[in-house]
C-alpha cells in the first residue's frame, strides 16, 4: 500500500469537505462545547468557591475524568459526518468509477477516505482536550495545589481511546455508506455508534466503570478488537466490483 496515493485522495476529500459549512461547523461546535463549556460549568460550580472539602474535591476529580469521556463520544461521532459525506458524495457524483480506474488499489482509496474522515475530528478533539486541560488546571489549581492535567487517564483517553473510537466511527460509516444513498441517513445511522460509549459514560458517572488507567486500557482493547472486525467488514465492502455492481 502506498501512503502517497492515500494522501492524494485524502487531500482531495479534505478540500471538498472544507467547503461544506455544515461539516466544518460540526467539527468546531462539539469540541468547543466540551473544551470550554464544561470548564465554565466547573468554574461556576466550584471554581468561585474559596475552598472545598477533600471529599468534594475527590468527587470533583471523578467528575472531571467522566467529563473527559465526552471527548471519546465526540471521536465516535464526528468522523461519521465526513466519512458519510466523502463516500456517499462520491456515489452521488458517480465519481467512484473513474477513481477506481486509476492505478490505485481499493485499500489505498479506503485509507485515503479514512484519513480524510479521521484527521479533522482528531485535530479538533485534541486541540479541544488541550484547551480543556488548560482551563480546568487554571480553575482548580487553587484548591488542588498542583496541576491535575496532564495525567495518565487523560493520556490514555487522548492517545489511545480517542483514535480508536474515531476509527470505529469511520469503519461503521464505510459499511453504512455502502448501503444507503443519502448522506443524512448515513450520518443518522452512523451516529448510533455513540450509544455504547454513552452507556460507558453513564457507568463511569455512577462509578460502576471507574475511569482508571487499567479499566480504560481494557476498554481500549475491546474497541481494538471491534475495530479489527469492522475493518475486515469495511475492506470486504469496499471492493471495486462490489462498489460498481452492488452498491446502491
Amino acid at each position: 500500500m502506498r501512503l502517497s496515493k492515500a494522501w492524494i485522495i485524502a487531500s482531495k476529500d479534505l478540500s471538498i469537505v472544507r467547503r461544506k459549512k455544515s461539516i466544518f461547523s460540526t467539527m468546531i461546535i462539539f469540541p468547543l462545547f466540551v473544551s470550554v463549556g464544561l470548564p465554565v460549568l466547573i468554574y461556576v460550580l466550584v471554581g468561585r468557591a474559596g475552598s472545598i472539602s477533600p471529599d468534594a474535591l475527590s468527587g470533583l476529580l471523578i467528575v472531571l475524568n467522566a467529563l473527559a469521556f465526552f471527548f471519546i463520544i465526540g471521536a465516535a461521532s464526528l468522523p461519521t459526518a465526513i466519512a458519510s459525506y466523502t463516500i456517499i458524495g462520491e456515489k452521488q457524483e458517480q465519481s467512484l468509477e473513474p477513481l477506481l480506474a486509476t492505478p490505485t488499489t481499493d485499500s489505498e482509496i479506503l485509507l485515503g477516505k479514512s484519513i480524510a474522515a479521521l484527521l479533522p475530528p482528531l485535530v479538533a478533539i485534541w486541540i479541544g482536550m488541550v484547551i480543556f486541560m488548560g482551563l480546568i488546571d487554571g480553575i482548580i489549581f487553587g484548591q488542588l495545589g498542583y496541576l491535575y492535567y496532564p495525567n495518565a487517564v487523560m493520556a490514555v483517553i487522548m492517545l489511545v481511546l480517542v483514535p480508536l473510537a474515531a476509527v470505529t466511527a469511520v469503519e461503521v460509516s464505510v459499511i453504512i455508506s455502502a448501503r444507503v444513498n443519502d448522506v443524512r441517513t448515513a450520518q443518522q445511522l452512523g451516529s448510533l455508534i455513540v450509544i455504547p460509549f454513552a452507556l460507558i459514560y453513564v457507568l463511569a458517572e455512577t462509578n460502576a466503570f471507574p475511569l482508571t488507567v487499567p479499566y480504560l486500557l481494557v476498554l481500549a482493547f475491546i474497541i481494538l478488537i471491534v475495530d479489527i472486525v469492522l475493518f475486515s467488514l469495511a475492506v470486504s465492502t469496499f471492493r471495486r466490483e462490489e462498489i460498481l455492481t452492488k452498491w446502491k
Binding site: 492524494i8 465519481s95 473513474p98 477506481l100 480506474a101 492505478p103 471495486r240 460498481l244
Partner: protein, 307 residues
C-alpha cells in the same frame, strides 16, 4: 494491443457478456455498437480491470486483466471515460484534472503542461478555476475526456462519450476524438450511435451479449447481402408492379411513385428490371442504387438475434 478470448461475465444466473473474442491493434479505433444492456459497459469494465471476468481471457498490451499486479500496470496505461462523467462538482476543472494527474504520478511540470494543453484544446482554459458543478453537460463531458487523457495514456476507453449531449456538444466531442485518432491513440469506443461509430471507428463490433459481427464499416455493409434499387416512375400501376415481381424474387415495395426493389447483384439485375418496367409501359424518371447503411446492417444483425 487489446486481446479478448472467450471473455465472459455472469452476474448470478444472468450472462451479461458471453464468449467475446476480438483483437484491437495499436493505433486502431475500435467501436462496440449495441443496444442498451448489450454488455458494452460490462466489457469495458472488465478490460479496465474494474470488474473480474467469469471466464476467458483479456489482455491489454500483454498484461493480464485477471492478474492483480498486471491490473495496476493496465490502469496506468489506459485512460477511461465512463458513461457518467463522475467529476467532483465542488472542485474546479483544473483541480479535478490535477487530482487525477497526481494519481498517475505525474510531476508538477507534467501536470501543469498537460492540464493547460487539454483545457486549451477543449476551449475550457478560461473556465479552469470555476467549479465543475456550474458547467453545462457538454463542458463536463469535455473535462471528463481531459481527465481520461491527463496522463497521456496509450489506450483510451470511452463509454458512450456523447450520450445525452446536444448535437453541438456531441460534435465537439467527436471532433476531439478524431484528433486523438490522428495522434494514433488506441481507442475503444462504446456507442449506440451508428453515425458516431461510422465516423470514428476503423472497425466495429456489433454486440448483443455476444459479438454478432466484426469488421470495418465497409466490410459490415458488404456482409449484408445485396442492396436496393429504386425506380422512380411518372406513375405506378399494378401492371408495372406485376412485371417487376415476375422478374425478381426480391422484395418489391411501392412508395408513392417509386418502386424499391431488393436486389442481390444490382449490376446484373438492374437492366432486366428496367426493361420489365419499360415493357409494362412505365415511364422511368430515374433509377438509383441504394447500398445498405450501417443502420441496415445493425438492425438486421440485432433483429436476427431476436428469438
Amino acid at each position: 494491443m487489446i486481446d479478448a478470448v472467450n471473455l465472459t461475465k455472469k452476474f448470478g444466473d444472468i450472462t451479461a457478456v458471453d464468449g467475446l473474442t476480438f483483437h484491437v491493434s495499436e493505433g486502431e479505433a475500435f467501436g462496440f455498437l449495441g443496444p442498451n444492456g448489450a454488455g458494452k459497459t460490462t466489457t469495458v469494465r472488465m478490460l479496465c480491470c474494474l470488474i473480474a471476468k467469469t471466464r476467458g481471457e483479456a489482455r491489454i498490451a500483454g498484461y493480464d486483466t485477471g492478474n492483480e499486479a498486471d491490473s495496476l500496470e493496465i490502469r496506468r496505461m489506459i485512460g477511461f471515460m465512463p458513461e457518467n462523467v463522475g467529476l467532483y462538482g465542488e472542485l474546479s476543472a483544473y483541480r479535478n484534472l490535477d487530482f487525477y494527474a497526481k494519481l498517475y504520478d505525474r510531476t508538477d511540470q507534467q501536470r501543469k503542461e498537460s492540464i493547460e494543453r487539454l483545457l486549451r484544446l477543449l476551449g475550457l482554459w478560461d473556465k479552469k478555476d470555476l467549479p465543475v458543478g456550474t458547467f453545462s453537460k457538454g463542458m463536463k463531458q469535455k473535462v471528463a475526456i481531459a481527465r481520461a487523457l491527463v496522463h497521456d495514456p496509450e489506450i483510451l476507453f470511452l463509454d458512450e462519450p456523447t450520450a445525452n449531449l446536444d448535437p453541438e456538444a456531441a460534435k465537439t466531442v467527436r471532433d476531439f476524438i478524431l484528433e486523438l485518432k490522428k495522434e494514433k491513440k488506441t481507442i475503444f469506443l462504446n456507442t449506440h450511435n451508428l453515425d458516431e461509430a461510422q465516423k470514428l471507428c476503423d472497425r466495429i463490433g456489433i454486440l448483443k451479449t455476444h459479438l454478432l459481427r466484426t469488421g470495418t464499416p465497409e466490410e459490415l455493409k458488404e456482409a449484408l447481402r445485396g442492396s436496393k434499387t429504386i425506380i422512380q416512375l411518372e406513375e405506378v400501376n399494378d401492371r408495372i408492379v406485376a412485371a417487376v415481381r415476375q422478374h425478381t424474387s426480391g422484395k418489391v415495395v411501392v412508395e408513392d411513385h417509386r418502386l424499391v426493389i431488393d436486389v442481390i447483384n444490382a449490376e446484373y439485375e438492374n437492366p432486366g428490371l428496367v426493361g420489365a418496367v419499360f415493357a409494362a409501359g412505365g415511364r422511368i424518371q430515374f433509377v438509383q442504387g441504394l447500398n445498405p447503411t450501417l443502420e441496415d446492417v445493425y438492425l438486421e444483425t440485432v433483429r436476427e438475434e431476436i428469438p
